[in-house]
């Protein structure tokens, strides 16, 4: 097996768009299954009453991380051909805070807004219009924020490279951390449910 298939020329650009559509269907399907078409379900994460967002997201990360690690280890996937977005630390930190704030204000993140809009939520459709306006604002201001946008470049860098640890060890530690955090998340949910039972908000 020579993977990633697209990088080895197994199919061309036009077929890749069909693949994109099919992968998108899978992505949207499981987001909706998880309950991510609902703003209340999503934002409950930030009021600690329902930590589904954390559980789903980290299960997905761990699944893909372990899968890719083993496929790479067996020599089935050339990991150097899997695209890694270059890190620009400070603008990404600022972007993270803005996106997080926007998430809890608006009720959705960009991908989940698509799923919510497709299942009839008008607020999600308005949220998508807001995202489009935000991108227009960013685009129009780009000549002035360009310097900051490219600030603190670190190149294509992974946690194992940064920490000078082996890939396998970091994969193991992240998986271990996630399992601990899943148990912690369930404990928090139970505590919040017990509190809510005593004093309805």
């Amino acid at each position: 097996m020579n993977a990633p298939f697209f990088k080895f020329g197994l199919f061309g650009d036009n077929v890749s768009l069909i693949v994109a559509f099919l992968i998108g269907i899978g992505f949207g399907f499981f987001l909706e299954r998880a309950g991510f078409g609902s703003a209340r379900k999503l934002t409950a994460q930030f009021y600690l009453t329902d930590l589904t967002v954390f559980k789903v997201m980290f299960t997905a990360i761990i699944t893909a991380m372990l899968g890719l690690f083993y496929l790479g280890w067996m020599g089935l996937v050339d990991l150097s051909l899997v695209y890694l977005t270059p890190t620009h630390l400070v603008p990404q930190i600022v972007g993270g805070f803005l996106l997080g704030a926007g998430f809890v204000v608006g009720g959705y993140c960009p991908g989940t807004a698509c799923v919510a809009a497709s299942t009839g939520k008008m607020d999600a459709l308005i949220n998508l219009l807001g995202i489009i306006l935000g991108i227009v604002v960013f685009g129009e201001l780009f000549p002035w924020v360009e310097g900051f946008y490219y600030a603190t470049p670190m190149g294509q860098v992974t946690l194992p490279q940064l920490l000078n640890l082996s890939y396998g060890l970091v994969v193991f530690l992240v998986a271990l951390m996630a399992i601990g955090a899943f148990a912690g998340a369930t404990w928090v949910e139970k505590r919040m449910a017990a509190r809510k039972g005593g004093q309805p908000s």
């Binding site: 998108g24 600022v94 299942t119 949220n127």
Partner: protein, 193 residues
């Protein structure tokens, strides 16, 4: 705007709204099972394409396409738009993420219709007005649009994709998303009350 449509949780929705699907919505999938499914989709994208998932990038292509249609000279002089317009040998919407996001709409609708969860409505708390909820939704979207561009991706393209690839910038981004959301949550709680 003051419609009485006010979907609550998936379980409650059926009782309050008129809808095409008469049966009650099914409960959501177990979070670990749904996460495993999402992870397999992401893994498939890595193996088949050599890239991860995304969402906000598709809207950047849409914005660049729109701006180019309205003011081509202005748009082509802008380095941000120019990246999404490419070398003009291909239509800017003939883009991988654009097709993927069209799939996300289709997949979300498919899952929703199979589970009886497709309902027209505005999701909000019982004591909030529709107008207020839509203003929050719009403002939050604006913040996310700007944030996703500085971060070079959103929860899909950075947090999930980069998270699985152990990308340094993605992990920093992800922690700040949670920090930003927790910091602001208290101030916008009214829309769910």
């Amino acid at each position: 705007m003051q419609a009485d449509v006010q979907p609550l949780t998936a379980e409650q929705v059926g009782a309050h709204t008129h809808h095409a699907v008469p049966r009650a919505p099914q409960p959501y999938t177990n979070p670990y099972l749904a996460g495993f499914g999402l992870g397999l989709v992401l893994l498939a994208s890595f193996v088949i394409m050599g890239r991860g998932l995304g969402a906000s990038g598709a809207f950047s292509s849409l914005v660049a396409f729109g701006a180019d249609a309205v003011a081509p000279e202005h748009t082509r002089a802008n380095a941000f738009y120019a990246e999404y317009l490419g070398d003009h040998t291909r239509h800017p919407l003939m883009d991988w993420l654009v097709f993927e996001v069209v799939g996300v709409f289709a997949g979300g609708f498919l899952s929703g219709i199979l589970a009886g969860r497709v309902r027209m409505g505005i999701e909000r708390g019982p004591s909030t007005t529709n107008r207020m909820r839509l203003m929050y939704a719009f403002a939050g979207g604006g913040l996310m649009g700007i944030g996703a561009k500085f971060a070079r991706g959103c929860t899909s393209g950075q947090a999930m994709t980069g998270g699985a690839l152990l990308n340094v910038g993605s992990w920093a981004f992800m922690m700040c998303v949670f920090a930003g959301a927790y910091a602001v949550a208290y101030f916008v709680r009214r829309q769910w009350q």
